[in-house]
């Protein structure tokens, strides 16, 4: 028997999702955003979700669509404002969705910490600002720092470029962004990739996310391009 993390159907990818789950969603803007997995989650119907991502979705596609379906209880992100954002602002202004604002670097580091066995760390970011409120403060070398806790997730939704059946991933340019660290932080990371190669074609020096951080893979060779979909007025479902 050979290790093979590749699945044929989105429903198999999402078979263990549950109501109330915490889900990390990779991508920065649309680069690296796992739109097909998010649409699968709409079909799946899980609700009361907590989403950890950099943004809060655009239009009615991908994360924007999921939020529009009212499946999301809370968003933890650095930047929930967007020129093309529709669904999050609607719900937020009606107090129908919670928001935790986290500085982008602190967000990245809290995610990496979860994947690296670090329950909390000190940082200078946000010291003296409203985002430091309620956080433990400590001085090292005459400088103030605050304590930030790791951000764990049940699932990570990730879009990569190339995978092998072990789950070794590479990404395309700035579509890398949050994806590798989210794979580390989630109990189960679910990956959509454009291309699948044989393991002996994977160069061990070039792997960005090693298979140990990857649980299920599906090939989506022609994914939706968010910019185009929004321009064309796509609404999912």
């Amino acid at each position: 028997m050979l290790i093979n993390k590749i699945k044929a159907e989105i429903s198999e990818m999402l078979s263990e999702i549950f109501d109330g789950a915490t889900i990390m969603v990779g991508g920065f803007g649309e680069a690296g955003s796992p739109i097909e997995l998010l649409h699968g989650l709409i079909d799946n119907g899980a609700k009361d979700l907590t989403i950890i991502a950099n943004n809060a979705g655009n239009g009615r596609v991908g994360l924007g669509a999921l939020i529009g379906q009212k499946q999301v209880r809370k968003v933890i992100c650095s930047f929930a404002r967007s020129a093309k954002g529709i669904t999050f602002p609607e719900l937020y202004n009606n107090n129908e969705i919670e928001l935790e604002v986290v500085p982008q670097g602190t967000l990245a580091e809290r995610i990496r910490a979860a994947g690296s066995g670090i329950p909390a760390f000190y940082t200078a970011t946000a010291v003296g600002t409203p985002l430091a409120k309620g956080k433990e403060e400590k001085v090292f070398n005459n400088k103030k720092y605050i304590l930030e806790e790791a951000l764990y997730a049940d699932f990570a939704f990730v879009k990569a470029d190339v995978a092998d059946r072990y789950g070794n991933l590479t990404f395309n340019k700035t579509a890398r962004n949050f994806n590798p660290i989210m794979c580390m932080a989630a109990k189960q990371s679910l990956i959509q990739v454009k291309k699948i190669i044989e393991p002996d074609k994977t160069n061990p020096e070039h792997v960005i996310t090693p298979g140990i951080f990857v649980h299920k893979i599906i090939k989506i060779d022609n994914p939706i391009i968010e910019t185009n979909a929004i321009e064309e007025g796509m609404i999912y479902p």
Binding site: F28, G29, E30, A31, G32, N54, S78, F79, A80, R81, F88, P89, Y92, L99, V101, V102, P103, Q104, G105, T106, A108, E109, I111, R112, T123, A124, T125, A126, V127, G128, T129, P130, L131, F171, N172, K173, T174, A175, R176, N177, F178, N179, P180, I181, I208, I225, T227
Partner: protein
């Protein structure tokens, strides 16, 4: 305090003049992060013979100019989510590594916009206190970059000073700003107040003091 009659009376430096002053202060071989918006034009004013390496928060070091229409790659964008290019010697990394560059003190200069800068170097530039709060990477940049430059209009559209005794808006960072480049002056944050190191040729120090809420000195 400012006299509202002064609003827009004397025309200050235009954006390109301000950008050019900033560009002149970025040394050869420095690693620089330019904030989204007005600071982006600084890269167009780097003097011949200087090589500057631009960092973008989303895992891009060695960022190049905007691509031609036919060269756009939606997987190659900057922190403002606009298409960019990568120069030879550039590299990609993930978000935690990218912010290690910022938070670990490896970025020599960042240039950011401001709503308010206090005489103590406090910066407010992320929230008016209204609408959906969104911070992005601004708090990481001001906490981590070796030098924090602010590029801003000296007064708001409503004619209020942006350089103030105390910020009234939510802070991005406390005591973080090194230098402010406005349309009327270049000002260092010092213990003694706003130290003017360059001033618009059409104004006097009294004029500058009048549009600044906090002591300015030469």
């Amino acid at each position: 305090m400012m006299n509202s009659d002064l609003k827009n009376v004397v025309k200050g430096w235009d954006r390109n003049t301000i950008a050019s002053k900033i560009a002149d202060d970025l040394p050869h071989a420095s690693y620089v992060n330019l904030g989204i918006g007005m600071p982006e034009i600084v890269s167009q004013h780097i003097k011949e013979g200087r090589e500057i390496i631009y960092h973008s928060e989303n895992g891009l070091l060695g960022m190049g100019p905007t691509p031609n229409e036919n060269e756009i790659d939606l997987d190659l964008i900057n922190a403002g989510k606009k298409p960019v290019t990568i120069l030879p010697g550039g590299s990609f990394c993930h978000h935690a590594d990218s912010f290690s560059m910022i938070r670990g003190g490896h970025i020599d200069y960042c240039v950011l916009g401001a709503m308010e800068v206090s005489i103590k170097g406090d910066l407010a530039n992320w929230s008016t206190g209204k609408g959906i709060p969104a911070v992005g990477g601004a708090m990481d940049l001001v906490a981590g970059a070796k030098n924090v430059f602010v590029m801003t209009q000296h007064i708001t559209k409503e004619g209020k000073p942006k350089l103030v005794q105390n910020c009234t808006l939510p802070l991005t960072g406390a005591g973080v700003v090194s230098r402010v480049y406005s349309d009327y002056a270049v000002i260092d944050i010092t213990k003694e107040g706003f130290k003017v190191i360059d001033m618009n040729e059409n104004i006097s120090i009294d004029y500058l003091q009048n549009i600044t809420d906090g002591k300015v000195y030469l």
